[in-house]
Amino acid sequence: MGKTGLNFRRVSAFATCVVVLCLLSGTTAAIATPALRLVDTEWLRGSVSEGLRVRLALELSGEPLQALEQGVALPFRLQWRRCEPGCGDVLGEQRIEMRHAPLLQRYMLQFDDSPPRQFPFRAALLGAFEQPPVLPLAPAAGWQVRVRLWREGLPAPLRLPALLRDSWQLDTDWQAVP
């Protein structure tokens, strides 16, 4: 310890600075308004569509918007799990994909395996995205839902930038369903 005592102090100081910087960056990131939000949830009972209706809010801009316009499909996953009280793994998910069809000159939105819907304008596309189909969940306590950009579905060159850049942070935290 005597020989490396000085070194240990310096390394500790260096590590402390790194941790502080990481916390600051994390805090900074937390302060910015997220591009994708889970607005609210509502249980539908006794109607034609019984289950959980979810409302989203998406502000597509910067690189994700450019990618969409240039033909890159943006895959999302709307996931749910139970916490009773410990939270388990993801029990199910709804696949959502939005893309641009240059031949049709339309924006396409597809939920799971249903036929893709076409939209001439991006606003209509986003509006439809923000109101996904009702999730087939039984009303009960302990449900949590989240939406995340499924980076594994992106083209390989885009995965690393999508992991590191803020404009690609299109994920929500787990939110409890009341």
Binding site: G71, L103, L104, R106, P116, A156, L158, A162
Partner: protein, 708 residues
């Protein structure tokens, strides 16, 4: 062992980290343009493990670097060499690495940009425009047809309208024709495709006829191709009835259009992804650079220390030899120059060890000779004193102590002047030394008298090293005594030899005369003969006794000393005289007397001579009281057994006390005069000392000291 295992694992961690980083660098694929990458740089486990490996390698490198810097500051052996090697290795390794990195980055960027020529993108756009235009023409044609149909249907009644709609399905080759009312109910619907049998109100309806467009259309992608979907409003009212139609497209056109769209979209996507591709490839290349640089630093540190280690060991071994440890050995495994250096070092230490052993042996021999010389000087009867170049006393033997009657060793370091002040009796000797020293003589002799009139024979020699002096001196009286003793011994030997032989014939002749003629002569002549022959025989006997005494003195028998106690010998002799009426003994012998090396016969003779001397000195009929005591004494760090033999006689005449131990020096009326001389000789043979003292209450006391 328990503590060694974790340390061994810890030391292995950086190497494993480096290996893992190398594997990642080889197999990471940042392109993935066409197929899924073998090792996705964005996957969590890749990033996590790479980060951990980088941190481990960085920490290990920093730790080694810090240890090296501190070792260099402390000037440890091998540290500066390691530091120099490290710098040179890094200078060799890092710049080319950096150059390669920059060149590779530039190459990647320019190559990727070179793949995407604007003309190609435009070509794809142009190709895509063709099916788009064809489809637009198709939808315009179909829109025109539907507009005519709507005009016809508006003029017909319901039944006829339905029939006309059905007819139109065939005429227009439509897949579906559905008419919806203002309330969105199905007024009529006909389908040539089972997929459209159940009509659905369109999601979007033309809002107005503004801009000349009274219809909406879209291409619906289906599993088997596209379907042209048109919706026409029958009038311009708000909830006007609508006519919905679906038409198929030419299969060949659809196939070509799909392919063109796919390829155009693929190229468009690729063109867009080139930025991300550059970013990912740059990130992978940067990671490879960082891993390579860290690995180079770590390897350089390890190699530098490894190369410097033999030199470090050599320096440590050299230091150990300088401290006196000649047992250190260096490892001679290997065949490079450092191994040759190690061999040379081991050879050198072997020779040093041998030389050291020779020196030690020489020193031991020197010490032995010095001790022998010191023992000889200490035991000789002559006094030996030495002075250094400034005439300060350095050594003095026991004989010098005795002769000068002073504790000279406690006065070591004093000059001759200071010694003369401390021992006034020795002043003549010291002055003689100063005189001789001042003249610069190499050696001289002289006879001088001390303050108490004792004469000394002095022989002085100058020491060659520091110009000091060594002085050897003897008691002149003692020397004379020894010379006389030697002369007496020779005379005694000759007399004994010359006189002894005729005595026996004389005695025999007298006895024969007596025997032959005593009975033949008359009374008067017989008496004369008897007296004469008896006188001859008696005197011959007396002469024989004297001759025997001479003989005993002349040739003393060879000494046969054995370690034994003195007390039994004393008791034995005392017992022999127990029967004498006028002789009494007072014996006090210390019970802890140590054993001495004694010739028992000679000691008996010594005691017998002392007792006889006391008896002869005391005139009859006065009683003789002999006191014999023995105890252990110390003088000048030497132990002696002191035997005191005291009598109550007339004492020793002062005129002969100096020579009382010489042959024929006696005031007794009887005796051979050789008794005390023989006692002195026996004491000398045993290495002891004898002195005679006058007792305060009368009588003589012999003080005998025998060395332990």
């Amino acid at each position: 062992m328990r503590q060694a295992k974790p340390r061994w694992l810890l030391s292995l961690l950086p190497w494993l980290s480096g290996l893992w980083l190398g594997l990642l660098a080889l197999f990471l694929d940042g392109s993935g343009a066409a197929v899924e990458p073998r090792l996705d740089p964005s996957s969590t486990w890749v990033i996590g493990s790479a980060a951990i490996a980088l941190v481990v390698l960085l920490a290990a490198s920093l730790q080694q670097l810090a240890a090296l810097v501190q070792a260099a500051r402390r000037k440890e052996a091998g540290a500066r060499l390691s530091w120099r090697l490290l710098r040179q290795m890094l200078v060799v390794a890092l710049p080319p690495l950096l150059l390669l990195y920059v060149a590779a980055l530039k190459f990647i960027h320019s190559s990727i940009e070179g793949w995407f020529v604007p003309d190609i993108a435009q070509g794809f756009q142009n190709a895509l425009a063709v099916p788009q235009r064809v489809m637009e023409l198709e939808q315009q044609r179909h829109a025109l047809q539907l507009r005519s149909l709507v005009t016809e249907l508006q003029a017909l009644a319901t039944a006829e309208r339905d029939a006309r709609l059905l007819q139109a399905l065939d005429d227009l080759d439509a897949l579906e024709l559905s008419l919806f009312g203002t309330d969105r109910s199905v007024l009529a619907s006909y389908a040539a495709d089972p997929r459209f049998v159940l009509p659905r109100y369109p999601e979007q309806v033309p809002a107005s006829f503004a801009g000349g467009r009274d219809y909406l259309y879209q291409l619906e992608p289906r599993d088997d191709g596209y379907v042209l979907h048109l919706v026409l409003a029958l009038d311009s009212s708000r909830n006007a009835p609508v006519l919905q139609a679906r038409f198929g497209l030419d299969p060949v056109l659809q196939t070509l259009a799909s392919r063109i769209e796919d390829q155009a979209r693929a190229y468009q996507r690729l063109s867009y992804l080139r930025g991300a591709l550059r970013y990912t490839l740059s990130a992978v290349l940067s990671f490879v650079l960082l891993a390579s640089a860290l690995g180079a630093v770590f390897l350089a540190l390890a190699l530098a220390r490894r190369i410097a280690r033999p030199i470090q060991r050599l320096a440590a071994a050299t230091e150990a030899v300088a401290q006196g440890d000649l047992t250190v050995k260096l490892d001679e495994a290997g065949d490079d120059e450092l191994t040759a250096l190690a061999r040379g070092f081991n050879r050198m230490t072997r020779r040093l060890t041998e030389a050291d052993q020779r020196v030690r042996a020489g020193q031991a021999e020197l010490e032995t000779e010095r001790a022998y010389l010191a023992a000889v000087i200490e035991r000789i009867r002559s006094g030996v004193i030495t002075f250094d170049g400034r005439l300060r006393l350095t050594t003095a033997n026991s004989a010098a102590h005795d002769l000068l009657e002073a504790e000279l060793l406690s006065l070591r370091g004093l000059t001759t002047t200071e010694l003369a002040a401390a021992l006034p009796a020795t002043a003549p000797l010291l002055l003689a030394l100063e005189r001789g020293y001042a003249t610069g003589s190499a050696e001289w002799r002289e006879e001088l008298a001390l303050a108490d009139d004792r004469r000394l024979f002095l022989r002085v020699a100058r020491l060659p090293e520091d110009g000091g002096l060594v002085a050897v001196f003897d008691d002149a009286g003692e020397v004379g005594r020894l010379q006389r003793e030697t002369a007496w011994g020779e005379v005694a030997r000759r007399l004994a030899h010359e006189i002894k032989n005729p005595l026996t014939p004389i005695q025999l002749a007298a006895e024969r005369l007596r025997h032959r003629y005593l009975t033949r002569l008359g009374p008067e002549d017989g008496q004369v003969l008897d007296r004469a022959t008896q006188t001859i025989v008696n005197q011959v006997d007396a002469l024989k006794t004297m001759v025997n005494a001479f003989s005993d003195y002349a040739k003393a028998p060879r000494l046969r000393p054995e370690r034994q106690a003195l007390a039994p010998l004393v008791q034995e002799i005392v017992e022999l005289y127990r029967g004498e009426d006028r002789l009494s003994f007072q014996i006090e012998l210390d019970s802890q007397l140590p054993a001495l090396r004694l010739d028992s016969g000679r000691i008996r003779q010594l005691l017998h001579n002392l007792i006889s001397n006391a008896c002869e000195a005391q005139p009859a009929p006065q009683p003789v009281l002999l006191s014999i005591t023995a105890q252990v004494v110390s003088e000048a760090s030497r132990a002696f057994v002191e035997l005191l033999v005291a009598d109550n006689g007339p004492g020793v005449d002062a005129s002969i006390v100096e020579r009382i131990f010489e042959p024929y020096v006696s005031t007794k009326p009887k005796g051979s005069g050789l008794g005390l001389a023989i006692v002195k000789r026996i004491i000398d043979e045993h290495g002891g000392q004898i002195r005679v003292e006058q007792r305060s209450g009368g009588g003589a006391q012999f003080r005998i000291r025998l060395p332990v």
